[in-house]
């Protein structure tokens, strides 16, 4: 079936004329029609969107790096003419007037953005249960979550209702859903891919990244999207290497660190077994595996939930009913417009985080919380800098458990925050990271995490390629 192809294999067939771009788009549409209704991976994949994509397909140049390849897009990334709701009622009806830079670069490489994928509202969550519209389901077991916040993107790639998808990662939101659904999820170094057109939640932590069936596909998408962007003042002004050139070079001579704080009690035995087996495979393939310490790991979740919520409270102030999105009916005055619009439009998790973020920034508490958290962030970043002076990459589980059943943590936000323990520090440090499927535990996918220093995606992808199971 065409829809089960990887991007790499699809490109080959498109270039050889065995498959047309129109057929590729139609394959996504047909697969989604057959399977996505029960899974909720897409928030929207309308006949109008499909018709637009077919029109683009007919004009596609298959000699381009991604010519004719449809790619699903998380509903927080702007695609001109498409909805961009961030899975929130407050943006219901909003249509993007411009392309995100990442999307413009994909288009320039011939790719066709197709469909808006489900997510936790404003990227706040780890299960896509905080979607303002409906939850997504894990294709491996539809009673379970695909993870979050890029759960919809993970679902469509894992279910072969998309060839590849874009996600975003603020505290693990690409890597954790990739782990839960058994696909590859790459979080590039902060600033590697422009954030222009990614709706802002936590500006110093987040970024766009590819979610794909294989490591090679992830490298291909990164190659197209990466690079300095004058429209994003935080984008790295660093050269973009050829991420594919050394992909198959193997891990001989690489030093890989195992942080003892990431290999603790409380990791499900099946997860631990799959991760340990993968570490052994890396050692057998010639990597030198050493133990090390990231001593401030236990403070990462607390630090994140001060910084991320503070930034969110600021970034989400723009949703006020004035220029776009939902507006409360018959406002009595401007304040009523703001308070009722936001009360009606935002879901509970978003409200909680806005309140927490406002609190930690408020007069009398700013130094005690926000400034303090920024100083702890210095310690966490230093842990990684010192570790990467000793090793090339860090390896760990992605999550302590496999995917949980939908509804497990309803109304218990703190418990879901704690599940991010292994992914969150990388965002605080600006590191790059990837989740690669490394086996199953009771039939559920387990992800293997590799982390690298900023700008080390070439090494990261090379090791991920070596770890990838056939």
């Amino acid at each position: 079936m065409l829809a089960t192809l990887t991007v790499t294999d699809l490109r080959q067939k498109l270039a050889a004329g065995e498959v047309s771009p129109r057929e590729a788009v139609q394959a996504v549409a047909d697969a989604a029609a057959a399977r996505d209704g029960a899974l909720g991976g897409y928030l929207t994949l309308t006949s109008a969107q499909i018709a637009s994509a077919l029109a683009l397909a007919d004009l596609a140049d298959v000699t381009l790096p991604l010519g004719g390849v449809p790619i699903a897009v998380k509903d927080a990334i702007a695609v001109a003419g498409d909805p961009c709701t961030c899975a929130s009622k407050i943006l219901a009806g909003y249509v993007s007037p411009y392309d995100a830079t990442a999307i413009a670069r994909l288009r320039a490489a011939g790719a066709i953005p197709l469909g808006r994928t489900n997510m936790d509202e404003f990227a706040m969550g780890s299960a896509t249960e905080n979607s303002g519209f409906f939850p997504a389901h894990n294709p491996r077991d539809p009673e379970r979550t695909p993870g979050g916040s890029s759960g919809g993107s993970a679902t469509v790639v894992a279910a072969d209702t998309a060839f590849a998808a874009l996600g975003s990662d603020t505290g693990g939101s690409i890597r954790q859903p990739a782990s839960f659904t058994g696909i590859v999820g790459l979080k590039p170094s902060y600033g590697r891919i422009s954030r222009h057109g990614l709706v802002a939640f936590a500006s110093s932590l987040e970024g766009i990244g590819p979610m794909t069936k294989t490591v090679r596909d992830a490298a291909l998408l990164l190659q197209v999207m990466a690079g300095h962007d004058p429209l994003d003042s935080t984008s790295l002004d660093a050269p973009v290497p050829d991420f594919l050139a050394s992909l198959d070079d193997g891990v001989r001579g690489l030093k890989i660190g195992l942080p003892r704080e990431y290999f603790i009690e409380g990791i499900a035995p099946g997860v631990r077994a799959a991760v340990d087996a993968t570490v052994n495979r890396l050692a057998a393939a010639g990597a030198e595996v050493v133990e090390l310490s990231l001593p401030h790991t236990e403070y990462a979740v607390a630090t994140y939930y001060i910084i991320a919520t503070a930034e969110a409270s600021s970034n989400l102030a723009r949703f006020d009913g004035v220029r776009y999105g939902h507006r409360a009916a018959q406002p009595a005055d401007l304040t009523d417009l703001y308070t009722r619009t936001r009360a009606e439009g935002f879901g509970p998790e978003v409200k909680r985080r806005i309140i927490l973020g406002t609190y930690v920034l408020s007069s009398g508490y700013y130094d005690a919380f926000y400034v303090k958290a920024q100083k702890v962030r210095t310690l966490i970043r230093r842990d990684f800098t010192e570790a990467f002076a000793k090793v090339d990459l860090i390896a760990s589980p992605v999550t302590p458990t496999t995917a949980w059943k939908l509804g497990t943590f309803t109304d218990n936000p703190l418990q879901t925050y704690l599940a991010d323990i292994f992914t969150i520090a990388a965002n605080l440090a600006g590191a790059c990271g990837i989740s690669v499927p490394c086996g199953l535990s009771d039939g559920l996918p387990v992800g293997f995490q590799l982390l690298g220093p900023p700008l080390a995606e070439t090494t990261l992808l090379r090791a991920a390629q070596a770890v990838e199971l056939p």
Binding site: G93, P97, D320
Partner: protein, 95 residues
């Protein structure tokens, strides 16, 4: 960071968020839990440390002082809940 005195209703007003009585009660309890967890940072001595505001080293980014096109007015107004004559409409602001 003493035992945090989070008054959810007060902070919600700062954030221009209406809360129902049920939400206020629920969030008060849930956020008190989260703040209790966050209090773990009290164990750390951060004397003498610089804050890290960003993943990369802070530096000023400039661009050439040359005019360039922005979003056209039509596009900027296209998603407006209420607009007229090229302007966003809001309730009266000045009495």
């Amino acid at each position: 960071m003493k035992a945090p005195a989070l008054d959810v209703r007060y902070v919600a007003r700062l954030a221009r968020l209406d809360l129902t009585a049920d939400e206020a009660e629920r969030f008060q309890a849930q956020l008190t839990d989260v703040l209790g967890y966050i209090a773990a940072l009290d164990r750390l001595d951060v004397t003498g440390l610089e804050p890290t505001l960003h993943a990369e080293d802070p530096h000023t980014v400039t661009r050439p002082d040359v005019a360039r096109d922005g979003l056209p007015p039509g596009a900027a107004l296209a998603n407006a809940p209420a607009s007229n004559a090229g302007l966003f409409l809001t309730p009266r602001v000045v009495e």
